[in-house]
Amino acid sequence: MIENIHRIREEGRSLISSAPSPQELDHLRVHYLGKKGLLTGLLHQLKDLDNNRRREVGALLNQLKTDLESHFDHRQVELRRLEIEKELASSSPIDFTLPGRHFAGVGSLHPVTKVLEEIVAILRRVGFSVATGPEIELDFYNFEALNTPPDHPARDLQDTFYIEGPVLLRSHTSPVQIRAMKSRRPPMQIIAPGRVYRSDYDLTHTPMFHQVEGLLVDESVSLSDLKGVLHHLVKNLFGARPLRFRPSYFPFTEPSAEVDMQCIQCRGSGKDCRLCKNSGWLEIGGCGMVHPNVFKAVGYEPDRYTGFAFGMGIERIAMLKYGIDDLRSFFENDYRMLEQF
């Protein structure tokens, strides 16, 4: 009986794989798997076997059944493909040179693009220019030149995707600062928007998101200037509302600060507010004065120049601005979401 099963398997496989038409495939299916098919016949014979053997042969028959079924399915798709190819081959191509149909309508920019363009526009009005840099970046620009040598504890804050050797997916837009400063002398006043990547995926993190970076370097730029520019930005994005600058730490700026905006939902009361988790404040970005070591890395004289840098997550701003509560929805691209912008 076992030999029989093997024989049926081999023969079945080859017949199925070479079945020339869907009709023929259907015949074969009835022949093997139908109510009165070969397999049913074999299953009937099982009752004549003793327990051990029945289990063994039963298992083999089951295998045979799944095996044949998967061959049937595969061949069915294959035949469908051949059929489609055949139909296509018998018709001739359309005249591509005929003019296209032009329609107009109401389209929309992605909310991330909208916010990004808004930020860029606000900052360009006060003298910032847009600089760009690669997303596939070198460790040097992403970390080392930003005063974050290997084995620096701050690297833990940014779980990085690596490509090969020193090549990585930039974990922030800050490497654009380095590229810009290495290419030009001060004064410098740039913003760098773009995609960034971190190996983090949960309710509040996506492995890719967008940041915008700002950098201003001149002979007497101060922390108070940084406060002024960010106030200007937030006032234009959200309307006038209090900001607070909280001391923090980034390797490439010192002094450093986190920027919090008064909660737009509870207006700072912090009472039963899910949005700000009862704190009354919403974190919107990080900033600080460019660290002298960063100037050294790009060949600027740290005793002559000072500068500030800031960075913010675009999705975060878009969530606050439009009341989107799930970060991941930005990348799901649900049509019913896109239509709203």
Binding site: I94, S108, L109, H110, P134, Q189, R195, S222
Partner: protein, 813 residues
Amino acid sequence: MLLSLNWLRDYLVKNDVKIEPRELAEKLTMRGLAVASIARPSGGLDKVVVGRILRIEKHPNADRLQITKVITSDSPNAQELQIVCGAKNIAEGDTVPVALPGAMLPGDLSIKASAIRGVDSHGMLCSSKELGVADDHEGILQLPKSAVLGQPVSELLGHHGPDDVIFEFELTPNRGDCLSVMGLAREIAPLLDTKVREPKPGRFRNSAHRTSAIIKVEVDDPRCCPRYVARVIDSLKVTESPDWIKARLQSVGVRPINNIVDVTNFVMLEYGQPLHAFDLRRIESGCIRVAPCAESRDFTLLSGQNVRLEPGDILILDGDRPVALAGIMGGLNSQVEGDTTSIVLESAAFLATQIRRTARRLGLHTDSSKRFEKGTDILGVLDASERAAALLRDSHNANVYHPPIDTDEQPRKDATIALDMREVKKLIGLRQISPEGVIEVLEKIGISAHRKSVNILQVRVPTFRPDLLDSIDAIEEVARLVGYEHIPQTLPLSPATYDEWDESTMEFDFRAKQTLCSMGLRETIHYSFTSEENLSRYGLLQEQMIRVKNPISEEMKVMRTSLLPSLLQTYRYNLHRKQFDQRLFEVASIYLADDEQETRAKEVPYAAGVISGHVVPPGWMGKSEPVGFFDGKGIVENLLRQLTTVKVAYEQPRNSRLLHPNRSAVIKLGLREVGFVGEVHPFIRSHVLDTTEPVVVFELCLEALRKFQRTTVRYKVPSKFPSVEVDLAFLLDKAATSLSVAEAISLTGGSLLADVSVFDVYEGANIPSDKKSLGFRLTFLSPERTLQDAEVTTLRDRIVQAVSEKFGAQIRA
């Protein structure tokens, strides 16, 4: 880092100072020590109330247990509770704490009604230990008889009782010093208008034996281990720690283990200095060596985990045998055991970068490694050792060998930083700050400073602040302590460098997005990576693909080589949500390997889109037809016209799995393929996209087009004279393209022929099966005069003749 405010009080001179937790947390946050959460572990103690024992009965099934009948109210009809109790020190009439069902006791012990040895019990009578009141012994806590029945017990207990408040800090990596109660006390004391009181380990008299009489310490490379203090302690018995130590540890979530381990943990939390205890019996060579690992070898940690040591890892060796992975975790072979009576207590400083490297490689982020990685206090090494020794001596009568071995007996000089007041003012933008003001704020947190000259302050950096290296670090301290909220707001004098920057790339991509929007398309944004399978099903796998080395999942493994697979995934996602009329696009880079680049990759911007459903979404004005090839082509044409000055050619695609062989075209700019447009292959449509309707896709390489950017418009004055329209229909071979005919018409029509457009295409009945009919509308126009019928007729005839000759066409009536 968790901080118990009750523990903190031990290090404040005014230890009964009133603390408003929220206010303090706020102040700390504004000083850069962010408090992420405030917890009151006694929260669950609300359900522990004052009760009175009315009667005590024997437990029928257990000699050691008693059944009590308790009331928690004075009311005459107060309900009696039956509670089983194991303690001996209770009597009828006692006033005791009763944990009612639903209470939560320290250590996450939740109280439920249950049956104990067959007798129902509706709560628990509590000992002081169970309530987390630190220093007490066995037995139920006796409350004053005057206590009001039903009152929460926590109200009766003072602030050293269970009403602790736990701050959870989210510290920045530069503040390793605040990974200790002492470190936090230094920051907090000035906020509460008090000072820090350092724990004073009792003085040691030189003992009969010095540690050096028993063991030796050798440090091979002082860079790896700048200081190592070893001390032998004997006459020990491994037992439980005193309650107050256990309570302190538990309050911040550290499980008590035994007196020796607990003391090392306690002092680590107190000083931020990790300690380790070796069983003296296991230091067989009598010599502790600190050395970098020479060659790879296996090692078993005291957690039981086997790790592979690699060259560079700093090891503590007994002769040649590793006994600890320095600064991270001790070894199983030398840990304190139940019968340990003598230990070597290690307190040391290790090279932060190497500890971090090893910890990271092995994924071993221990309480110890976390502190060493961020830098520890080199002076604190000895203090911590003495503190731990004193605790063992005082609580357990241990015999401490004094003095210990210290590899760093040179007196240390504090580092100094010269702080220039002019720089402080310039960088912070705070004009009013005085040198005296700076000195004052620094001294409050234990950093002394004095004035060296008019503008220069000399700042002495205490060893507990290894993060302060340069004047910029001192400036930051000043800014932080003054408070960022007191720094004014100004607007910079804009250096206005904008004309030096080429923003055209960004502008071009943005114009592409706007043009696509104007055609009713909706922008999407997708991850830059996708799965190999998602590319391969469309035949888009490429040799130049870039792979992420540490992807989160298979779905995010390769950098996109085309935008379409993600767009089609989104199409399908929306189709399943009954969105039939979709118009999607994305403008983003694709990524290709390129050895010419320093990053070995190039990023090429593309625009791509997916169109499905109807040309005009169905509504009351009737049904419109489904989208097809020419809708895609229309989008591409518009995009090219808006953005560029190029002319492209459309050709039949070859061997595409994605594209319909007869209803799609590749787009060519000269010889270079710059994109494609058309309907998706019917097989993909039915087997991947789950639809029977046409789906139109396009993709265009924006980088290739950018070179031909349309930068300006040349204006032509519209003619003041009337135009003449002529319609011509030709019967042509099917293979003849409309473009080639239109071109022939234009060529012959000359300058008076202003426009040629196709108004009709027909195949089928009344014409031969190998022929088609094309109808063209010709517009004749002169900028200078009204055209005469005769000249238009002449031109028309010439055109008919030319097309007939070139294409063997027949003019149709």
